[in-house]
């Protein structure tokens, strides 16, 4: 059995700095809000003399332009999931060690990659683009790897003898044994792990509590260590804290582009498309704004989503500065290849559904419609607009009776007729709708006025004339 442990001490800081992309920024520290101590710090902050666990007052005195960000456990957790997602491409068994570590079972992967060094090379290449600080170590048991990585051993080896020797030399303070138990052990002269492992488990169980025995058993690999492995998620969900507060909606394009790239990778690996993205903008002093951006056809390409989102961003009005965004996919579907004709010389680059999505993003969904026919004799009910998807079904599943001589435009509602017209055709009597609240009794005529415009007029039961349509 061989295990690899990756320890990430600076996850929240790394998540923030990855947005900076090499730009110069002020010294940055992450502050634990309960103890008011610094828990993570950037290289620039370290250069000014700030150290870990330093109080905020001292740190602020050392660096004038110090930027302080509170520690949010959720960001670390999200980032850890993100790393696991990347590593899953090369490793099948990954487990989370809260809050800052990942455990990989690697002995079963070695057959695929040949030997340990080439496998480690693959892992290193995968981690490189994430720009993370990390410590690593292999171990003969999960806990051994854990202790060595946290210690910063940074060695990859499958020499069990070497691993056992190194773990034996570890001090008690480097293990996860409770401080109280550590003190008890010190008093009886146990100083490092080697001393501890010399004592038999039976003797130890008599004098110390059972959790120590369990811990040691797992450390030496004699007891089984139950581990729950990671399964990649079905739905893409990403929360991103911005490096700076943004109050101009156009500046949101940059960070959104980042997330969309990750989304593209996510969907591409699963060979899936998504038809909608749910984007949330968290505002500093107001409720968050939630958006749904739709694409009728389903897309995975970041560039396509970017174009749709850019149109919507033009209309975004922010009440106060945005400090974080999150992006979630709606339903995903398996991608099916386009069955376009290779030889028909097609010009232009969009498909029909892509065009509809683009127009809907600009005009709003209710402004992009398709005409449809309902099975009704009343002209205003028969002719209606529906969204393209609905109209397709409506028109598909029935073939209504069509009336001859209908105008091209309808006035809604019909207007009283105020001009002198000459009636040329008619009447056509409609007496229907008595079963619902909008009955219609009308005699329709085709008429034209003195300018030569063709009107569709009707006379109601009380003798008043209305203009209902125009033959354009």
């Amino acid at each position: 059995m061989l295990w690899l442990y990756l320890h990430f001490p600076n996850l929240q800081l790394d998540a923030l700095l990855s947005q900076a992309q090499g730009e110069e920024i002020a010294p940055l520290v992450i502050l634990d809000q309960h103890s008011h101590n610094i828990v993570q710090l950037s290289a620039k902050a370290a250069a000014t003399g700030i150290t870990l666990n330093m109080g905020l007052g001292t740190a602020a005195a050392l660096a004038q332009d110090l930027q302080v960000v509170p520690y949010v456990p959720r960001i670390t957790e999200d980032k850890l999931h993100e790393i696991a997602e990347v590593l899953y491409l090369s490793t099948s068994d990954i487990s989370f060690f809260a809050p800052q570590g990942l455990l990989l079972r690697i002995h079963n992967m070695l057959r695929l990659y040949g030997d340990l060094s080439s496998y480690w090379q693959v892992l290193k290449n995968q981690l490189a683009p994430l720009k993370l600080t990390y410590h690593y170590a292999t171990g003969h048991s999960p806990l051994a790897a854990n202790i060595l990585a946290k210690k910063g051993w940074n060695t990859i080896s499958d020499d069990l003898e070497l691993l056992r020797r190194t773990i034996a030399q570890c001090q008690l303070s480097e293990t996860d044994i409770a401080p109280k138990t550590q003190q008890q052990l010190m008093r009886v002269g146990v100083r490092n792990v080697q001393d501890l492992l010399r004592i038999s488990f039976a003797d130890m169980a008599k004098r110390f509590d059972i959790s120590l025995v369990n811990y040691l058993g797992r450390l030496s690999g004699e007891f089984k260590h139950p581990i729950e492995f990671y399964h990649p998620p079905e739905v893409f969900k990403r929360y991103m804290e911005l490096l700076f507060d943004v109050d101009n909606s156009q500046f949101l394009q940059g960070p959104l582009g980042h997330v969309l790239k990750v989304l593209e990778q996510f969907l591409k690996l699963r060979d899936r498309l998504t038809q909608s993205l749910i984007i949330q903008f968290y505002q500093r002093d107001h409720e968050h704004i939630e958006w749904t951006v739709g694409s009728q056809q389903g897309e995975y390409l970041a560039s396509r989503w970017h174009a749709l989102i850019a149109i919507k961003l033009e209309q975004l009005k922010l009440d106060s500065a945005v400090y974080a965004i999150s992006l979630t996919t709606g339903k995903t579907q398996i991608r099916s290849p386009d069955k376009g004709d290779l030889f028909s010389a097609k010009k232009g680059s969009l498909s029909r559904l892509q065009l509809v999505s683009l127009l809907q993003a600009k005009l709003g969904e209710q402004a992009v419609v398709s005409p449809a026919i309902n099975n009704d004799f009343r002209p205003e009910h028969a002719a209606s607009y529906h969204s393209p998807a609905v109209a397709k079904e409506l028109n598909h599943d029935m073939s209504p009776m069509l009336q001859a001589m209908r105008p091209s435009f309808l006035l809604s509602p019909p207007q009283p007729l105020r001009e002198k017209v000459t009636v040329l055709y008619g009447p056509e009597r409609l007496n229907t709708g008595w079963w619902d609240s909008r009955p219609v009794i009308r005699d329709y005529y085709i008429a034209h006025n003195e300018q030569g415009q063709w009107y569709w007029v009707f006379k109601g039961p009380d003798g008043d004339w209305h203009l209902h349509g125009v033959f354009s």
Binding site: K347, L355, V369, A383, S412, T422, G452, F471
Partner: protein, 229 residues
């Protein structure tokens, strides 16, 4: 050849009479008189500017051509910013497949132009009909480029109030109502000579919308003609 002439010709600044053959690809409009005067029919792609009051038959003049184009492919027809509710019964009765018709209700003329450009350039629309009163030369040029890119025909329907500037369109028509149909004047045709005004008889395809006196041998129902105020 004279070097100056050659230079001008290379820069495409000289129009030559033998260029007219480029206009060969045209579609029949469905009206014989119009076909003759346009030497074949409406252009395959580009921008067409029609100056007409609403309700005299301007849309009916376009429909046969738009229908043939719809039947020849699987692309979309888009109506942008129509002045009133477009009657789907009329479209269906005329033979249009309604799934492949889109109506866009733009809030402003700027939005309408944006939509027209996107639809034209997308390559999935064969025709766009746009109701737009005012349009500038540079906007027409953009639309023209988009129409050529997407192989689509944009028809601009508007009623001009004053004498207009010449727009860089492929074809410009002026329509006026007549009892038997439409009086048409071709005000501009790319690569062609202006022709005399002519009349299109719409009575053949729309017999009811024809106010010429009926033939004598038709027996009228007694109360055929109504006069109303």
């Amino acid at each position: 050849m004279n070097p100056i002439l050659e230079h001008l010709k290379n820069k495409n600044l000289i129009w030559q009479a033998n260029h007219t053959s480029q206009m060969a690809c045209a579609n029949s409009t469905g009206f014989r008189e119009l076909d003759t005067h346009l030497q074949g029919g409406f252009p395959q792609s580009g921008v067409m500017d029609i100056d007409s009051p609403i309700g005299i038959g301007e849309l009916r003049l376009l429909l046969p051509d738009l229908l043939t184009r719809q039947q020849n492919g699987d692309r979309l027809l888009v109506f942008i910013a129509p002045p009133m509710h477009i009657n789907s019964e009329m479209l269906a009765e005329f033979g249009f497949e309604l799934q492949r018709v889109l109506v866009l209700q733009a809030a402003s003329s700027k939005q309408a132009l944006w939509c027209a450009e996107q639809c034209l350039a997308s390559g999935c629309c064969y025709g766009v009909v746009l109701w737009q009163q005012d349009i500038a030369v540079n906007q027409v040029k953009r639309l023209q480029l988009a129409a050529d890119k997407g192989d689509a025909l944009l028809t601009l329907l508007r009623q001009q109030k004053q004498v207009h500037m010449a727009l860089p369109v492929s074809l410009a028509l002026r329509l006026r109502a007549l009892p038997q149909g439409l009086h048409i004047e071709v005000t501009k045709r790319k690569g062609g000579w202006p022709s005399a005004a002519f009349t299109v008889n719409m009575g053949d395809s729309w017999p009811e919308l024809n106010s010429l006196p009926m033939a004598d041998n038709i027996l009228h129902f007694p109360a055929r003609h109504y006069q109303t105020a």
